[in-house]
Symmetry: C2
Subunit: 119 residues, 2 copies
């Protein structure tokens, strides 16, 4: 069936969460948000494109930092209200220069930092 | 540092997205939502507990279906506005009886079903 970006379910701000996962290691790199146009741009260009809620503008991941996400596979969930993009990630995905944004764990009630920024 | 569930960033409905990932295979199983109390229950009990937006109640994953998620590791992201739980998933995670909710891909503009329900 032909995919229509508008057929996904967006929240009251017109956004849908998108999880980015390293297509080789399976590591979950980050979660950001897309609107229908960002979904279409991601599929059309192969460059993962989010909607920046803080800047209220399209955000082609890595466009300024060089840490691009090349789309490898685009998936959505049973409720059509969440996206999973499998990506080929150049460099760190996180703005803190860590590979993944999920570098803090809670263990036995304490927070632990699992990753250091890349140099 | 001692972790305080209230220190995470919740949206205007008091919710935060939580990604569940198989702790062995790395497969992304589902995304659901937690409030601060669900976060605390998850950490206290080791049973991953969401907030059901449709039922407006706590949802101990698998409590009725038996497809429980045992917490293996609890992580949050750099912006403190998304959670990643690594889980030991019994049975399928998806209510459609598939292992993962992300069973539909978009390839060359067409939707493709990647997984069948488990029998």
């Amino acid at each position: 069936m032909t995919f229509d970006a508008k057929s996904l379910k967006y929240d009251d701000k017109g956004l849908i969460p998108a999880i980015a996962q390293d297509h080789v290691s399976g590591e979950v790199l980050m979660l950001a948000w897309m609107n229908a146009e960002a979904v279409q741009k991601t599929l059309d260009t192969g460059k993962v494109t989010y909607w920046s809620r803080s800047r209220q503008s399209f955000w082609i991941k890595g466009e300024s930092s060089g840490n691009v996400q090349k789309l490898v596979d685009f998936r959505y969930d049973c409720d059509r209200d969440c996206i999973l993009v499998k990506v080929d990630q150049t460099g760190p995905a996180c703005h803190t220069n860590r590979r993944s944004c999920f570098y803090t764990a809670v263990r036995d009630g304490e927070t632990i930092e699992l990753m250091q920024p890349e140099t």
